[in-house]
Symmetry: C2
């Protein structure tokens, strides 16, 4: 009954990887990249490690009995519940490295016992009531793009089954208040539908996470998501004006007002609650006028510190770029390698000369850093901000590279996740960690985390590539985003990954960074979130959860770890 | 042992009213005002209703026994605890109309049994431990400026005594991070000390509530305070980067990072918790560069709607004024009357001609509205924003009145609260209600609330003056602030006030406004906060409170009503 998926966007991701089934990142078209990876990762890239076939996967049968299914069908109708293999597989987990490793091997130890497709709040209320009564865990599911285990269909010891609650049918824009510049929409709406509904009226939300094409409004809010242009448009928690959340036994609703002193702020308690308190069903968000001018370009800086300093100066001088990324030397080089090689010998020669000249000018490979900078909005302020920002770049030794690298980044910004699947086909580990910190602490944290990633990869017996950029900037600090690659240790992929992840996470906290700037907590970050927030906050959160979800059915194991999960296999996290 | 007050700022407010004991608003210098009030309020203003003398007030003796006082002295030293009459009186309540009416009559039914002056977190932790053990309620006290009953020394039925915890000794700036533009300070620091410590380094917090001279950082955070220039600088909840809160049995501390996805956001749970979860002891806030240019001026609009529309256009066109207030016709007239009359007949004649000309141009008394508009920051953007804003004003029929009215408002902005004491001396009720809503809903809410205030005052048997302004603007909406005056119904002052307050509060909620944009909940708004947030939120908040304050000692009766208070008299709120 896959029709459930069709009411929202009909896009379903690969069950074993990222995005559109028909799309693949073709490493064959990037000979420089292949060469680079071979050298740096000490691998031939010749062996293939494809995902297992769908047919070969055996899922444990659904634990719901006939009477239970009948009960759910009475609430949802027959088309509102799926128990077929593909639906259960697609809803078993999200898209973290851990998830994808397991999916590709067919190790799907905890598929949901059913996937439900409610069409509105009334049905959701009834489902939560039913689940409380039957001791069934409920995992809210938006786009399924979590990279921290946020939608894994886990239950706790006392749960008899687990259902995945797919919100794709709650996909409508409910109201656009043009005068107040707000939009109210249902939580299951995906990025493109929402933006389409707004652009016709001259508005944008400005929220473009890398998962934009698949992820949903409810998921963004549940995880405190950030769009790639959050420096201008804000993180999702800065946009939320009001929301509704159905929890077992009730509905929490906030008023649509621009600010309030009637504290605490329930918008901010629900935002980031990752489904452990209830199911977000509607959200009202601030809107922006759709930009009419866009300036984007790229610069080289002689080192990461200069690029970071220029970024800080922008934000502290009232310049708010829509796009701002400063890659470290390794990511800068990787970006160069990732570009398709020009076939035109004249262009090639020109480029070589350019690179030679840059070296002479002190923009040395291994030191130089690429900044992608973009402003957008009304023509006048976009132009004047762009000029002002170029002056600041110059002050910090920034060398203008033109529009092209910026435009290429902008064009390809939703394509990069496809690279992971291709690399995993070749036996390469690729994952990310991200954090945020103050400007004062940015370079120390960057250096420490870079070092620990390199070392911890080496300790798994292989060489790594570790690259980073800063992005999502604020007057007081910035996010830091690391990508790391290594040859997979076959048969011990999870242990290898976990050793690196653990070392990186501990390093982040030891250096005063947050365990996540925009990926969320889920399962993967739960132990460090506990450390970050401390015992008082965790005690408070438990008290809050117990009040709104007294039977503990909502998204077990996320944010608040549960002692034992009803997986057939223990989770491999040590 | 008033020395406890001296470690922080040595300013202590009048126990029976607002601010500096030596200061008084001289109605005698404002003959137009006196005339206006006499006519409109149908009062002669001749009878005096002075506050009772300090000597005539009898406070119930402290319920702490010698052993308990010894216990507290072991924690705090002798100088850290006061039980003298003036200290207890000053800490019995805040500065709401209800508080001032009772204070002036000497009806101080619930003075704290002691006032404690801890000098640090360790002492606070020990006090909370002591209080939990002895079943003593603890009321955190900053500047004591709450206008919603937030610091009233109430206990619940099971409390044996109540202590007021004055944080004035926690008054240090701990660290300024110039690179990240943040300041960390102790919660008991008052506005002027904080700004003084920052201005020498070229920074400002930009937080100037009307209570600025007296209120404290901790109080601002606890109540989600807004400065008069919050349109530019943000409300306090937009500035908080991290904080520490001591609660019974532990400490909650958040990381100083610009943003995070490790939800929920504990900064935003503690901000607005009004002391019911614990005692805020330290806060890190975003800083702004001290403005080097300031442009301020005033405009007339032909009606309130046009002034509101111009304000909306500023915010939605990226113009962020530091000061933006649009008075309705009544407040506009009141402001004119409040000005000292010019002695110079030439100036008088000139003014009369001006007013006549304005009338001819359609800016009619009873319709025309005054806007105070100010920009500040760096010279370039201040000037260009000012020009742009003037164009928008012109588009909406704004008539520029020059700098003077704006500068006068700026000069007098902390003086207006003194008017209340003078009017109460003359038997005049004066109070405020405030809310916020979307631009779409602004005029409907304004009209409804204006009408209900006029009517509900009339129902108490007298004529009122009801005036309002919008201020604290956002791209999606604005705050609305009402001031109302009426002749006091002697002997039934509280019943009269309550009838009006109740009608206004119900009207706000019925018209989708929040019960408070920046005054907070305290006692006065608790029943409507419950209605605004709904039963799910209240259940959640109780769960949260029970986890962090299991004995329920923290600031009873605020936000969450308690069934019975250990006052000698029942609270007069019906």
């Amino acid at each position: 009954m896959a029709s459930g998926r069709l009411d929202g966007l009909p896009l379903a991701m690969k069950w074993w990887g990222w995005g559109d089934r028909a799309k693949r990142f073709q490493i064959e078209g990037h000979p420089d990249l292949a060469e680079f990876l071979k050298t740096r990762l000490e691998t031939t890239l010749e062996q293939e490690f494809p995902p297992v076939s769908l047919e070969s996967i055996l899922l444990a049968p659904s634990r719901l009995d006939r009477a239970q299914v009948d009960g759910l069908e009475r609430i949802l109708g027959e088309s509102g519940i799926s128990r077929d293999k593909l639906s259960r597989l697609e809803h078993a987990m999200g898209k973290s490295y851990r998830d994808v490793v397991r999916s590709r091997k067919g190790e799907v130890s905890c598929p949901p016992d059913a996937v439900l497709y409610p069409s509105g709040e009334e049905e959701i209320g009834k489902i939560l009531e039913w689940a409380s009564e039957h001791e069934v865990a409920v995992v809210p599911f938006g786009g399924g793009t979590s990279v921290v285990g946020g939608v894994e269909a886990l239950g706790a010891e006392h749960h008899r089954a687990v259902i995945s609650l797919d919100l794709c049918r709650l996909s409508r824009i409910l109201h656009v208040d043009e005068r107040s510049r707000t939009v109210r929409a249902q939580a299951g709406i995906r990025g493109p539908s929402l933006e389409e509904g707004l652009s016709g009226r001259g508005f944008t939300l400005g929220h473009f996470p890398q998962s934009f094409e698949y992820s949903t409004l409810g998921g963004w809010v549940a995880t405190r998501s950030a769009g790639q242009q959050s420096t201008l448009y804000g993180k999702i928690e800065h946009m939320v004006q009001s929301l509704r959340m159905i929890h077992p036994g009730g509905t929490l609703e906030t008023l649509t007002v621009p600010a309030r002193a009637a504290g605490p702020d329930w918008n901010q308690i629900v935002t980031g609650s990752e489904g452990i308190l209830g199911v977000i069903t509607e959200v009202t968000l601030k809107l922006w006028p759709a930009p009419v001018r866009r300036r984007i370009g790229a610069f080289f800086f002689r080192d990461f510190r200069e690029g970071a300093e220029a970024s800080r100066k922008f934000l502290q001088n009232g310049l708010v770029p829509a796009t701002l990324r400063v890659s470290d030397p390794e990511e800068t080089q990787f970006g160069m390698i990732l570009r398709p090689r020009s076939e035109d010998w004249k262009k090639q020669a020109f480029e070589h000369t350019g690179v030679w000249a840059l070296e002479k000018m002190g923009y040395r490979q291994g030191k130089r850093c690429l900044m992608i900078l973009g402003f957008e909005g009304d023509p006048e302020s976009t132009d004047s901000d762009w000029k002002h920002a170029r002056r600041i770049c110059s002050d910090h030794g920034g060398f203008y590279l033109g529009r092209k690298p910026g435009m290429m980044w902008y064009r390809d910004r939703f394509e990069h996740p496809y690279l992971r699947d291709t690399l995993m086909d070749k036996g390469v580990l690729i994952d990310t960690v991200e954090t945020s910190t103050t400007w004062e602490n940015l370079v120390p944290l960057y250096e420490a985390l870079q070092k620990i990633l390199v070392e911890s990869i080496r300790q798994t017996g292989v060489q790594g590539i570790v690259m980073a950029h800063l992005s999502h900037c604020y007057p007081s600090g910035s996010s830091l985003y690391f990508i790391f690659l290594a040859k997979q240790v076959q048969g011990e992929e999870m242990e290898q990954w976990w050793a690196i992840k653990k070392a990186a996470s501990e390093c982040i906290l030891a250096h005063h960074g947050t365990i996540s700037h925009h990926h969320g907590i889920g399962i993967d970050h739960a132990r460090w979130a506990e450390k970050e927030h401390g015992p008082s906050a965790m005690k408070g959160l438990k008290g809050l959860k117990n009040s709104l979800d007294p039977k503990g059915i909502m998204n077990p194991g996320k944010i608040l770890p549960v002692p034992v999960c009803i997986q057939r296999e223990e989770p491999r996290i040590p």
